[in-house]
């Protein structure tokens, strides 16, 4: 048997309405390895959120399947926690109530004290100690999203699914939360699948970046391997890293031009949807073209 990654997306397709209608996306194949942080980038309307919902078990594909641990996903599971775009906290419960609701769903036999202790650990992990008795309406946007992250982590899932988790936040809060997610994921060896349309966020967080073409009929164009090592990615000096601009330019070039004209690329170069091309634009920066002179010449070379 083929050696499958932890999550294997195989031939996924989604149509709305009758069969015969053009698919939003089709023939989507990619895998996510254990402990990997995988980002999906694409324009609105290419079905990113639908793919995430299928992974979460909240939506069903029109074709294909998602295989987790050699079993096809047929519904939501506590093994795959979702961090929703709009945080989706239950407004009549306190911060503690929201997290305890998740914890007691995961471990129904635990008594109250044990549930509270466990929930408190994750409230502290996201830096919300002291706010546990507040209602969501009393929290800022960033704090609400922290509660959402704590809720997802508290059930100790096998993987995290995040749907543009920081898009509704201001830049400062977003940066802080990105750092925290990076730290927490590194500490817990979490497998993460995240949707974003923020190129810098993807470079900062992701090990691999899956690029999706425009819908209808969207597909995986290629997968960009983030060759910047995890320990060299810091939000404040990301732009000084020698590989940064090469990767960023590649992603921006894709989003601006290639994503809408990918059919022509297929015609010219051929395309195997089952094995999207792995590209490493960062490595070309090791020997940068002569016309680009880095402002800082102290950049680390590999």
């Amino acid at each position: 048997m083929e050696n499958r990654p932890l999550i294997s997306v195989e031939g996924l397709a989604r149509r709305f309405g009758e069969t015969g209608q053009p698919a939003i996306f089709e023939d989507v194949w990619f895998g996510i390895d254990k402990g990997e942080f995988c980002c999906l980038i694409g324009h609105s309307g290419c079905g990113k959120t639908t793919i995430l919902n299928v992974l979460a078990g909240l939506d069903r594909p029109s074709g294909g399947a998602v295989i987790v641990d050699n079993r096809e996903i047929d519904g939501p599971s506590l093994d795959r926690a979702v961090i929703f775009q709009g945080h989706a906290l239950l407004p009549w419960m306190t911060v503690m109530g929201n997290i305890a609701f998740a914890v007691s769903s995961r471990w129904p036999t635990w008594d109250r004290a044990k549930v509270r202790d466990h929930a408190m650990r994750f409230i502290q992990l996201v830096g919300l100690a002291g706010a546990e008795n507040k209602r969501p309406a009393q929290l800022s946007g960033g704090m609400k999203q922290r509660v959402g992250i704590a809720r997802a982590l508290s059930i100790q899932p096998k993987m995290l699914l995040m749907d543009e988790p920081f898009s509704a936040l201001d830049a400062l809060t977003r940066g802080m939360l990105q750092d925290e997610v990076l730290r927490i994921c590194a500490d817990t060896q979490q497998t993460v699948f995240m949707i974003t349309h923020d190129v810098d966020e993807a470079i900062l967080l992701a090990d691999r970046i899956v690029l999706m073409t425009n819908g209808p009929g969207a597909r995986i164009a290629e997968i960009v391997v983030n060759t910047m090592p995890k320990n060299e990615r810091h939000r404040n000096d990301l732009h000084r890293h020698p590989q940064y601009y090469a990767i960023r330019n590649h992603l921006v070039e894709f989003l601006v031009n290639r994503s809408k004209a990918f059919d022509q690329e297929i015609a010219a170069h051929g395309y195997d949807p089952r094995r999207p091309k792995l590209v490493k634009p960062g490595l070309s920066a090791v020997n940068p073209p002569a016309e680009i002179v880095p402002l800082t010449t102290t950049g680390r070379r590999q």
Binding site: A56, G57, L58, G75, P76, S77, L78, R80, A81, V82, F84, G86, A88, L90, P91, W92, M93, F101, A102, S105, R106, R135, A137, I155
Partner: protein, 282 residues
């Protein structure tokens, strides 16, 4: 200081309006010296000697009303025969019927509304019945109730039941049906079972809408009980009003009107308070 002054001025204006109404009323009901036009002796007998003489209207003065209210409040719970019971007892009868009918309606409407809100099939199947029965005046059910139940007291409770069921049913169904998808998705991704989802997610999410329905229902029930008791007779504040009409005791009727209003206000405020307890800010 400025903030208080609005409340103060409104209060002052209320007092002025009250004084004006009482003043106009007093002037309008003052006994007149001149004797009025000749009156049908039958009618004169009916309305009383003073009124027939033209010196005094059957309409009581504010002072009469005040005295009557005081008399009723001083001894609200007396019983002197089946047709002469204290106003407190009459109100208690009406309140008991309303709470019983309303409570039974809640027991039926809230679970049924839950079902309608959760199931598009049930919603579509029951919608024609609800749409046709909802606009029917609850009193139209009275003969049917009297014929089938053969008990006037229970019939009036049934009428209260039937009039308070609709707002609760419709609001519960609406509240349950419009629970945010993302909250339900949270429960789904946490693999929460249907009963736990119903009680921990859907019920609290829909509770403010359900409470609004209950508040509307209890208001309608309190409106309807007066009319229902006028029909069935025996006891209750509605019967009291009709009885005092037959006695042509306008002062007693006015007293009853004021007390009906007061009890209605208390019912409404009680449910408003309960609604506030389950309301959540988003």
């Amino acid at each position: 200081m400025l903030k208080n002054s609005l409340g103060l001025r409104a209060g002052l204006l209320s007092v002025l309006i009250f004084v004006a109404i009482v003043g106009i009323w007093q002037v309008a009901t003052m006994p007149t010296a001149a004797s009025g036009p000749a009156m049908d002796p039958e009618y004169a007998k009916l309305v009383g000697a003073a009124a027939a003489a033209g010196s005094k209207s059957a309409m009581p003065t504010p002072a009469d009303i005040g005295a009557t209210i005081w008399k009723h409040l001083a001894d609200p719970f007396y019983v002197r025969g089946s047709n002469d019971k204290g106003i407190g007892i009459q109100l208690a009868y009406s309140l008991g019927r309303v709470l019983l009918g309303f409570g039974l309606a809640a027991v039926v409407a809230i679970p049924l509304g839950f079902l309608i809100g959760m199931s598009p099939l049930v919603y579509r199947a029951l919608d024609p019945f609800i749409q046709i029965l909802k606009p029917v005046s609850p009193l139209a059910w009275m003969p049917l109730a009297l014929y089938t139940i053969k008990d006037s007291a229970i019939s009036s409770i049934f009428v209260i039941f039937i009039c308070s069921i609709w707002p609760m049913l419709i609001n519960t169904a609406f509240g349950v049906g419009s629970v945010r998808k993302e909250w339900l998705n949270v429960a789904r991704t946490l693999e929460v079972g249907p009963f736990r989802t119903a009680f921990k997610v859907i019920l609290p999410a829909a509770a403010p809408t359900i409470m609004t329905g209950m508040r509307i229902s209890v208001g309608i029930a309190w409106l309807v009980i007066v009319a229902a008791e006028m029909l069935v007779g025996g006891t209750g504040i509605g019967y009291f009003v009709w009885n005092e009409w037959n006695n042509l005791s306008i002062a007693n009727i006015v007293t009853a009107i004021l007390l009906i209003g007061l009890v209605g206000l208390l019912l409404d405020q009680g449910l408003a308070y309960l609604a506030k307890l389950v309301t959540y800010p988003e």
